[in-house]
Symmetry: C2
Subunit: 308 residues, 2 copies
């Protein structure tokens, strides 16, 4: 088992969906990555920043799940990053109602000593310079560096993004963003161009339409589990990434064949995340639930054609 280091936001979310609305609840990409990775019994360290208003109970909950929070800086005089959004009826699009960066505005990530040798590093969706500064602090070259990003950074920090992309092994990105970054409409061609920017592995997330993994001409596809109801999609992408990294950290095998399994695990965990508001479902998720759903993924995708 390898250590996993994840940098990302630990935040408050307030969410409206057709099923209801929440008060300020626990959210943030780092939180979802950590909760997903905690399913694998590995050592996961989160690097982030919160304000004095962040309840200690949330940190205790994470610690109870084996998530190391030493890297979550608490700025007593500041306020925690807050995002509020409203999902449309189809759950595939949303409006951002409020974004208060607060303590995130001047975030200088500090990697705790004991995670400077983490084999797997997950760089959550933050400014490319923040992502790079985490890599600069590693004392041992990680086995696998995974980066998540979004169109926002392509628009305001494209040069810095290209610089950090040269240093990473895996990029996770959604389909529209892959098209923007590459200038290619076909996802096959987009993956090829992004591959040339640095990452050997390109993971393209298509939300309810699943995820594609590309590596030097090889392709793998994991569907999203079709669900009767998607309650709240918030955090599904981060949960997917956390499951992917967590599985690789646990198995210590970064072959393409094993990455297929990691993608399936990511999709598996994401299918739970959307069943309740925020982190609720991920907090009470048990190993046997995950294992049972793995069986559902097998039934959904595996076939046995005798080629004659």
């Amino acid at each position: 088992m390898s250590k996993l280091l994840a940098v990302g936001t630990v935040a408050f979310d307030a969410i409206e969906t057709p099923f209801g609305k929440t008060a300020k609840i626990l959210g943030g990409s780092g939180t979802f990555v950590g909760l997903a990775a905690s399913q694998f019994g590995i050592q996961t360290g989160i690097v982030s920043v919160v304000g004095g208003d962040f309840p200690e109970a949330y940190l205790t909950m994470m610690n109870d799940k084996g998530i190391n929070t030493d890297g979550i800086e608490i700025i007593k005089t500041g306020k925690t990053f807050f995002w509020s959004g409203r999902y449309h009826n189809d759950m595939n699009s949303r409006d951002t109602l409020i974004t208060e960066l607060n303590v995130l505005e001047d975030f200088k990530p500090v990697v705790p000593e004991r995670f400077k040798d983490a084999k797997i590093v997950m760089l959550g969706n933050l400014h490319p310079l923040v992502q790079a500064s985490v890599l600069d602090q590693m004392t041992v070259k990680p086995t696998l560096i995974v980066l998540d990003t979004m169109n926002f950074w392509m628009n305001i920090a494209l040069e810095e993004l290209h610089a950090v992309l040269k240093r990473v092994d895996v990029i996770t990105i959604n389909d529209e963003e892959a098209r923007q970054l590459s200038g290619e409409y076909s996802l096959v061609n987009a993956a090829k161009k992004i591959h040339e920017m640095g990452p050997k592995y390109v993971v393209i997330k298509k939300g309810e339409h699943g995820a594609l993994l590309f590596n030097e001409g090889n392709m793998f596809f994991a569907p999203a589990l079709p669900l009767a109801e998607v309650f709240d999609p918030t955090g599904a992408g981060d949960t997917f990434a956390g499951g992917f990294c967590g599985y690789l950290a646990k198995t210590e095998d970064i072959s393409f064949e094993n990455m297929k399994n990691a993608i399936i695990y990511g999709s598996n965990l994401a299918s739970f995340c959307v069943e309740k508001f925020g982190t609720e479902r991920m907090q009470d998720l048990t190993t046997s639930e995950v294992t049972n759903r793995l069986q559902a993924f097998k039934e959904l995708t595996q076939f046995d054609i005798k080629i004659s």
Copy 2:
């Protein structure tokens, strides 16, 4: 091996895509279904109607592929159904430029004697009364009746559509149409409602996002093969249906497990169809090409997680 009877259009298409445009070329749902099914060495009969302007060479080409065209009525004084469309840059949406129904307007399908005992019947996307009249002519109850339809018939002949749906085993329908027919946004719930309308099996086609097969709580998903270029999507859905029916006719096994294979074959053949304009690619497609691509589908979807 079972006989397959397919009713559908045999037509002229004129197509514009970002890659170019065609003159009037061979098209039609019956044509694509027949060409796909011809990959399986089964007896396939097409029921359709064309005008005196329809080149005999097209019928000869179909016969050479083992497709029986006795059920294609030729109305010497009439003109063949003609459709013209222009695809947008993303290839996922298109504008219809011309629709000339011509001989299709008064189409009265006549099932040839030797296909009245066909075990598999594919009712292509036509008026529900035309679909029903084909079933009325069968002298032996088919093992499997597959129906394709679209929003157009839901809008103008919903009652007749519901009546014929009670008589079919499998419906193939796209995602938006499944939502319209069921009034449910979630495809899982949509499939459940459509199931209650008659069909034991519901196949929801999602174009580039693959296809889902539902049957009494069981689900299977086949991705579309990610391609560098989609040249012309015309006929892909019909090719998918033809591959599905053709594989089931060949294997004579309509279990859910074998339908999984049939769905994969449908997706496999559809991935060839879009590589060239119209029927061009399907006309020169060889068995070894299909077998090789089956391997690509396996690599794309199969994984081997040891559940611990």
